[in-house]
Amino acid sequence: MTDAPDDATGEGGATRASSSRRVRLVVAAVITLALVLVAGVAVGRLTSPSPVVPGDHSVEAGFSRDMQVHHEQAVEMSMIVRDRSDADDVRTIAYDIATAQAQQAGQMFAWLEVWGVPQAPSEPSMTWMTRPTLDGSYGDHSHGGATTGADGSATPAPSHVPGEPMPGLATAEQMTELRAADGVDAERLYLTLMIAHHRGGIEMAEAVVARSDDRQVDDFARGMIATQQSDIDAMQQMLAARG
């Protein structure tokens, strides 16, 4: 920018030129300040030894809250079938699932404590699953009612609605039915419900893997996916053996 030629424009021009210089100085000062602030925040954040932990509305916190609820039902179902069945194979896998998922629920509970966020959700369950994935795409996981277009292409809409039941959860009626069942009926019902429960759990774990770069949460979810898939295979064999 060049200065106005005040030698030719006279006094009015000189005043205008000096006032516009002042404006430019102020603007430059503001921009400099803002840039210094940004640089300071960036440098501070990048060099700061204290880790940035997931916040109240993070996918990590949402997953940790919802998955506790999900796991608690698996524990309950497993404890029920252990009371309703004498079959060693089902009682053993139920023991395995109940103790493993109770431990994992405690792990997620502790994360929320360490992150300094409430256990109580700040938004409807599953809201975190409607958030964009790390690669910027939406729900690449399809589930139940996920629709496919006539040309075979998946619809891009997120496949979950905040506040709707989590995938795989048994209904209150199914839980009542399980409590009332006995012997091989209880085993069949348990296996059927738990296979669906695990599939839903895997779907939620995949959803957090796609959305979180938190190492602990990521490792946890990947472990969950592996063990629950192997549980599903084992339970399918048990179910097949019961006709």
């Binding site: 920018m1 424009t9 803002a34 602030l37 409430p118 369950s125």
Partner: protein, 219 residues
């Protein structure tokens, strides 16, 4: 700038020079104006970009945090040093409804009840980190009962009537209690945030299922 020269030829020359000068000046002024405009636009864009950067930094890295320890629940009453023994029979609690203390060995299944539930079983739920919404049927409307039920989280909460309370509604956790007469009171939501599954309870996360059902369970 005005000149009073009387020599015509010189005057003409000067006029011509002046015209040139004026034209040059106008051009210069126009350039200056354009530069100023460009400067302002560039400065505005740069300023807006800087502001946007600051905002996006704050939004993306400093996620909203609400540490339950920092939540202040207006009007909450708290108790320290509650005993937590397993006892048989009834317990004489120091507050109504009870918000912790000795309790039955078996806990009550969390859920929504339409009849009054035994104190001793419900207090065991509080030990496990549950919260307990109670309403006095004589002091509340059906809409208020529905609103209170909606406030209760899907797990680790009990909703039940409780006769003879000194407030229309209470929400209790282990060692903490809030009386309220409007479910929309923000203090109620604050209470849930601070005390649901709280580490204030002796055993948060222990089961709230697999115990006994109280009378009149509907959910």
């Amino acid at each position: 700038m005005a000149s009073n020269d009387n020599k015509p030829s010189v005057k003409q020359q000067r006029d011509a020079r002046r015209q040139e000068k004026v034209a040059a000046l106008k051009k210069q002024q126009a350039t200056a104006r354009r530069n100023r405009r460009i400067g302002i636009v560039v400065a505005s864009v740069a300023g807006a970009a800087a502001v946007a950067l600051v905002v996006s930094f704050v939004v993306t890295s400093g996620q909203p945090r609400q540490d339950p320890d920092d939540v202040v629940v207006a009007g909450v009453q708290t108790w320290d040093d509650l005993t937590a023994n397993h006892v048989t029979g009834t317990v004489d609690y120091e507050m109504t409804p009870p918000a912790g203390g000795d309790h039955a060995g078996v806990w009550m299944n969390c859920g929504v009840y339409t009849e009054q539930v035994p104190n001793e079983n419900a207090v065991h739920d509080l030990e496990h980190g549950a919260i307990w919404f109670t309403y006095d049927p004589a002091q509340v409307t059906d809409d208020q009962i529905e609103a209170v039920t909606d406030l209760a989280p899907s797990t680790y909460s009990v909703v039940s009537p409780y006769e003879g309370m000194d407030s229309p509604m209470y929400v209790s956790a282990w060692g903490a209690q809030l009386a309220f007469d409007d479910p929309a009171d923000p203090a109620v939501a604050d209470f849930v945030t601070k005390y649901w599954k709280s580490t204030n309870a002796p055993e948060p996360g222990a089961a709230c299922t697999g115990g006994v059902d109280g009378p009149g369970r509907v959910a």
